[in-house]
Symmetry: C2
Subunit: 170 residues, 2 copies
DNA sequence: TATTGTTATACTCTATAACTATA
DNA sequence: TATAGTTATAGAGTATAACAATA
């Protein structure tokens, strides 16, 4: 279910939460679909591209990519299984593993970049240059350093500390 | 984990996915926190406010609120448990149940509206009137009717058809 | 003792399937 | 037969806990 109750443009203009949620979700859907032809997910691309410069350990990569270290393990398992990345032991710390991209991985990143830029252009293409520029500036103002949406707060989804069964609010 | 790798404003300006995801998520966090004092979630408010005009069945309400009917059951269980809504049998269809708000529910909706407007003003307050107006127009252009992000497509999270174990792409 | 990466597991969220009672 | 609402449950995502190896 959950198809779509159509809401008028006038109505949604006053609903900032809806605008952001919808934009975020719809763009993610488009991006996921576009990258699927390369058999890579947005997250896979994110990790792979950040690993490209090289010499990063899994932990460092996780921090940069904003992923939990356990999520990073799964992501790298996939990337490695697909032959796009490799884990090699660090020579300075035998606990750590350096992530490096394969040649195929480099090619995929390059192709993905083209696809991603294409999607952005397609999406933003409906706006005038002026609108486009103001939109991006405004978003950076909100989300960027010191902005009201630059949260370094809680976690996205409900955190679930062991037990503590909070009396679920409505 | 997953605290925050700080990215420069210049860097994020070119990452539309990040800008939308972050804006959406950070606003949701703020909104959830702000509404918590009324002991209501954004979804609870959404359902309750749409039920206020009255005379809607659960199913109709689910469609309007973009929720699955099973999610609606849970949501209404909470709202009813908190004394904010009531389910009464329809007089024309003995299978259906009409959702109505209680007086307390009406009060909560009114207070929630004030809180929500306050958050929007607080957030958008960092922008100039001009920026603010262009931002909203641009978002409506992207997300609204006919826009490139007006997806009526797939489901938000990965749909999980029974079995079919898709070979998880990277 | 602390940290890296791993495995196992728990918890949330949301949707499919199956069911009851009507229509 | 089809539909409204319910219950049970499965699947996806992601984080906590515990562990082995090493620092």
């Amino acid at each position: 279910m959950v198809l779509m109750a159509v809401r008028s443009d006038d109505e949604i203009r006053g609903d900032l939460s809806y605008l952001f949620d919808k934009a975020s979700q719809a763009l993610a859907v488009r991006m996921t679909a576009a990258l699927a032809e390369l058999d890579i997910t947005p997250r896979g691309y994110c990790v792979l591209s950040k690993a490209m410069p090289g010499e990063l350990t899994q932990g460092e990569l996780a921090e940069i990519a904003l992923l939990d270290k356990t999520t990073m393990v799964v992501t790298l398992d996939h990337l490695e299984g697909a032959g796009l990345a490799r884990r090699t032991p660090s020579r300075t710390d035998r606990r750590a593993r350096i992530v490096e991209t394969t040649e195929e991985g480099d090619r995929v990143v390059a192709n993905a970049r083209t696809i991603i830029d294409g999607v952005y252009d397609e999406v933003l293409g409906v706006l005038s240059d002026e609108q486009r520029s103001v939109l991006l500036d405004a978003l950076v103002g909100l989300v960027g350093a010191g902005g009201p949406l630059s949260t370094v707060e809680p976690t996205p989804n409900a955190p679930r500390r062991r037990s503590q069964r909070s009396s679920r609010s409505v």
